[in-house]
Symmetry: C2
Subunit: 329 residues, 2 copies
Amino acid sequence: MATIRDVAKHAGVSVATVSRVINETGYVHDDTRKKVETAIKALHYTPNEVARSLFKRKSRLIGLLLPDITNPFFPELARGVEDEMQENDFRIIFGNSDENMKKEKEYIQTFVQNNVVGVIASTNHPDTDTYRRLNIPVVFLDRTADNRPSVYADGCEGGRIAAQEMVARGSRQITVMQGPTHIRPAQDRFKGAIEALSEQGIAFNVVMTSSFSFTEAGTWAKELFEQHPFTDGVIASNDIVATAVLHEALRLGKNVPDDVQIIGFDDIPLSSLLTPSLTTIRQPAYDMGRAAANLLVRLIDDVNIDNKTIQMPVTFTERDTTRKVNQHG
Amino acid sequence: MATIRDVAKHAGVSVATVSRVINETGYVHDDTRKKVETAIKALHYTPNEVARSLFKRKSRLIGLLLPDITNPFFPELARGVEDEMQENDFRIIFGNSDENMKKEKEYIQTFVQNNVVGVIASTNHPDTDTYRRLNIPVVFLDRTADNRPSVYADGCEGGRIAAQEMVARGSRQITVMQGPTHIRPAQDRFKGAIEALSEQGIAFNVVMTSSFSFTEAGTWAKELFEQHPFTDGVIASNDIVATAVLHEALRLGKNVPDDVQIIGFDDIPLSSLLTPSLTTIRQPAYDMGRAAANLLVRLIDDVNIDNKTIQMPVTFTERDTTRKVNQHG
DNA sequence: CCTCGATGTGGAACCGGTTACAGATATAAA
DNA sequence: TTTATATCTGTAACCGGTTCCACATCGAGG
């Protein structure tokens, strides 16, 4: 690889001048600039980002920490982040945290060691030292931390909507699936749902689930219908769990939505492809990713930002696992 | 952030000694080592990877280039890569190429500028200068390039199997969907399928598709049944397209698999969750990712490697969009 | 013709690590 | 006691950029 000194020699100028040309800083005579530019082309020179990063104590890298790219909700987020970052000439160091604080910590550390200029993280513990001590901007994605930069959808509101719509469509023996206790958005949805049900005086059961994996979700779905066989409405903590519930219901010969209604959360690509297609509370994942990236870029550039916490809308996405509302009033 | 000089001062030794302690190289007296270690802890010192990388001309970063993380086949791959790399203390710079050579080139360039020590790429053009000129190891993933390090499943063989199984299950008016012409694995599958059909003297139609997006796939599915209404078997170029075909068939009131059989490719998580669940040619995506990462790590460590191209098995995964074979012999 | 600000360029320090090399001491062998 | 070798430590150059500062030249205004 050619270095800036090679270019300088080839062009018959000093390294300082070459640097000025590449960065378009300071004064450079037109003729000189041309000499340098031809030298750069001749040697196929591209500046070494590592050297730059060392001196400036700033790279063009940002860290992205997501729970699990294998969970279909996250690729959309990731893609949103990537597209926006790409357009702003940032690259992404990526890691899966598995909702595990130790892994998170390790990743954040290596991010810092690599001079990243910002971090986007889906963490359940934004208030730990791991994040507080960072002296680079952090944007929390799909998670909130009061008053710190974050992009998220209102899980609580989503849960409420799910409950209301389910009741409006006639379910009276509702089972709410409580997602993993250590995952914040799951708890918000749960809280929203049971609050709304309580307010309306509707009885409900609760089934706990302890992860979002496809394989385990089946077990909880079985458990649900064993423990609460007369359930006529299930509010799941996300679309993965909802899918498992749907499958189990069909396996048991139940008619969906006539015997059981099901509402999921997220609207992952899979949801619209199921039969019957899944009614869900949609989060605009791609847009959330983009918004988070955009916010981070602005924080990096130290733009004055009025609105550091961006709440994205959740929308009730009516499909075929719920009945039509006018059938029941 | 504390630097190595801070640590040296705090411990009353030279930077060289500190460096020796961190890297466990050369001689260091036990007492000295302890002094340094306490200093490191006291100052919360972690070495700056950028400075290291600059001097050594080698980082602990690798580049991962995938077509589109939003396509459900790739998160599994990515996760496999990440897990293996994590275990070997490498971090990943990630990018989506959209099967677009220009984007690829840009990414590869920035990878190099960041001193990555290796690259894993799903490219359709492994023989371009972009990859040939690289003087760091490259592993092609889900793609081949003769005799260069790669991990892939045999698309051709997969296509053949799909064709054979479909014929064995009684379809005689088969439509083969040809994936995007610029995507190698898609063409391999297509070739394998039509070869096998020709050998067996079975007539077939071809429908072209030009991307793997969920939204567009629906259009081609419609086209398929308009142009070839009597099709009784569809070999799709991947599970996304197969899903669209399944939906269209059901919409048209066809019985699957009795009127039309459908075979997909990949076995993405979605496939087993459809109704009817999708018969497909499975690629072990996660394992492929892991294998590619493992191979790259060995190449980086300059281990003598006998087997640089790893072919993973494709397996016929029988589900409910095909009939049982004994029904037809 | 002189002065001054704008323009143009290069030398060298610096970012935070690693390592070649030299010098010092301790220990073992002769 | 001398010599050879192993152990231990520090100085300084180096990786490839950026930028401060000093110095030189040029054109305009007095």
